[in-house]
């Protein structure tokens, strides 16, 4: 579904990503792990269109997409979440989701004046969908809260909700479990698994919680120093000495 070939990203003299190549299979939940500074988030940023690759290619469903702007990626079905939640803090939880769906004619200022009917009809559909998503995330009781007042975990759920509101094909999750308590972490994991089976989303997940990665992701890609170190299922990776070296400078991954 997504193929990355010889991707490079330099920030001044720093090579954040170098010669990175991997593939994400349709319908998979691909884990992306690696020590801090391995270039995982930079790779995400390039796939999501927030950063332009210095060189290399990103192919999505057979089409070259490297360097396209974020909204273009979004409309092709690539949606991401952030490690640090980005919510619209003064808007309500429901509105945070309602702002996402594409093809609302009311996003053209003029159509609000001349085509009220179409705008309101779509608005109703969108609200229906947003409320369903809130129920799925079990935060529907917070629908009327300002998003800025949510707890860290609830904001993480809201991030996930945003991907549910887009017509996503590939969802990039940047540490969905960071700063989240173990109970909620398990819930988030189940939600991701359900979204894959119910809605057919393909996931790519950056995560540091190895239990979560082990129980959710196959395959797992390990990045270190800007490039792919190895990939395979979690058992292979756990026993791979190179991975241990990269993570711990020797020692053992639990």
């Amino acid at each position: 579904m997504l193929t990355i070939k010889n991707l490079n990203k330099n920030f001044g003299g720093l090579q954040a990503v170098r010669n990175c190549s991997f593939e994400i299979q349709e319908g998979s939940i691909t884990g992306l792990i690696g020590p801090n500074g391995a270039g995982k988030t930079t790779t995400f940023n390039m796939i999501a269109g927030e950063e332009r690759p210095t060189s290399g290619r990103i192919m999505f469903e057979g089409q070259e997409i490297s360097g396209l702007p974020t909204y273009e990626m979004f409309h092709r079905g690539i949606v991401r979440t952030f490690q640090i939640p980005h919510e619209f803090s003064k808007m309500t939880v429901l509105e945070n989701l309602m702002v996402v769906p594409p093809e609302q004619p009311g996003e053209s200022i003029i159509k609000n004046w001349i085509a009220r009917g179409a705008v309101m009809r779509r608005e109703k559909e969108i609200q229906e969908r947003a409320e369903e998503s809130l129920e799925f995330l079990s935060i529907s009781h917070l629908w009327n809260q300002e998003a800025g007042n949510l707890s860290g975990g609830q904001k993480k759920l809201l991030e996930l909700g945003r991907t549910m509101m887009a017509d996503a094909k590939l969802v990039l999750l940047d540490e969905p479990g960071a700063g989240v308590n173990p109970t909620l972490l398990m819930k988030i994991r189940d939600m991701i698994a359900r979204l894959r089976s119910d809605r057919g989303y393909t996931f790519c997940v950056i995560e540091h919680d190895m239990d979560m990665i082990a129980s959710l992701c196959d395959p797992v890609i390990v990045m270190a120093e800007g490039t792919v170190l190895t990939q395979g299922n979690m058992n292979d990776i756990r026993s791979n000495p190179e991975v241990l070296e990269a993570y711990l400078g020797g020692g053992e991954v639990q």
Partner: protein
């Protein structure tokens, strides 16, 4: 009796100029209130509107470009369209700049326009300005001509107000709010942030041009001084801040209220003893600044602050409590 008639005419002119400023303030409200664009070049777009409409409607004159004698409806629309095109070009260059840099860029652009108007004498008659601009309803007897013009202005303000209220509450307004709240998240939600910014900038500049066109016809005369930053940029900003940014009602209210203060300050300053009278211009500016200071102490967000209607739940709120 005659004295009252004088007051009556004064009130009409006060309301007319207040209404024209309301159009300007609503334009700025789209840019600053809705979109968060720091435009300090209002005077430039105001001037474009004023000159385009003046040149299109005046009788032939050897002093400036003209003689097209177009109907008002055409000249008003042309003023807005020309302003929109220029706003688009300016926006292409400047809208990527962050707030404070955009402010500097727009100041510069407004000054460039003013210098062009001053120096391209073949088109604008330079510093002597364009005179004999026709005024809608001027053939009617006094005071009906004034009243009809006032009605035109008030009607325009009302229509713009309604249109912007609809826009603010619409999905478009929601995207605008989202972009102001968190640009990164808005991008991740698939919004073309640059396009939305451009829309806000262009719509705002079109309203500013319309206000400029109305002013040119109302005063029947326009020269580069009418577009000086003090009365067309600074005053509009004060109106929006006092009235309440991102609130259309606040913008209209601020425009009428501050125009009344500004206009009254002229009367007040004319009563001053002679030695102060030469300084009236400065005293008036001081007064406006003073009012702004006092006001912001009491209402830091402006008199009316932003209100966005939140959607009501279609289902019962709290329908599924978490386990």
């Amino acid at each position: 009796m005659e004295q009252f008639y004088g007051y009556f005419l004064y009130l009409i002119s006060l309301a007319t100029m207040g209404g024209i400023y309301a159009i300007l303030t609503l334009g700025l409200n789209i840019q600053w209130g809705f979109t968060g664009l720091f435009n300090v070049g209002i005077a430039g777009f105001f001037a474009i509107g004023a000159y385009v409409s003046a040149i299109l409607t005046t009788a032939p004159s050897i002093r400036h470009l003209g003689g097209y004698q177009m109907p008002y409806a055409v000249s008003f629309i042309a003023a807005m369209l020309v302003s929109a095109c220029i706003a688009w070009a300016v926006g292409k260059v400047c809208l990527r700049l962050r707030t404070d840099y955009l402010a500097i860029a727009t100041i510069g652009i407004a000054e460039i326009f003013r210098l062009i108007l001053k120096n391209e004498t073949w088109a604008t008659n330079g510093p002597r300005g364009v005179s004999m601009i026709p005024k809608p309803f001027e053939t009617l007897p006094e005071p009906w001509n004034q009243l009809c013009f006032l009605a035109l202005v008030i009607l325009t303000v009302f229509v713009i107000y309604l249109a912007l209220e609809v826009a603010h509450k619409s999905p478009w307004g929601r995207v605008m709010t989202a972009i102001r709240e968190n640009e990164i998240a808005a991008k991740a939600a698939g919004k073309n942030v640059e396009r939305f910014r451009m829309q806000g900038f262009i719509f705002g500049c079109m309203l500013m041009a319309l206000a400029g066109a109305y002013t040119a016809h109302y005063l029947k005369f326009i020269d580069p001084n009418a577009t000086e930053p003090l009365t067309t940029t600074f005053l509009v900003w004060v109106m929006l801040i006092v009235g309440g940014s991102a609130n259309n009602r606040g913008a209209v209210l601020g425009a009428f209220a501050m125009w009344t203060v500004w206009s009254a300050s002229e009367i007040l300053a004319s009563r001053l003893p002679d030695e102060l009278a030469i300084r009236t211009a400065y005293i008036r500016i001081f007064l406006i600044g003073f009012v702004l200071q006092i006001f912001l102490q009491k209402y830091p967000k402006g008199f009316l602050s932003e209100t966005r209607p939140h959607p009501r739940a279609a289902r019962t709120p709290g329908y599924s409590e978490p386990e």
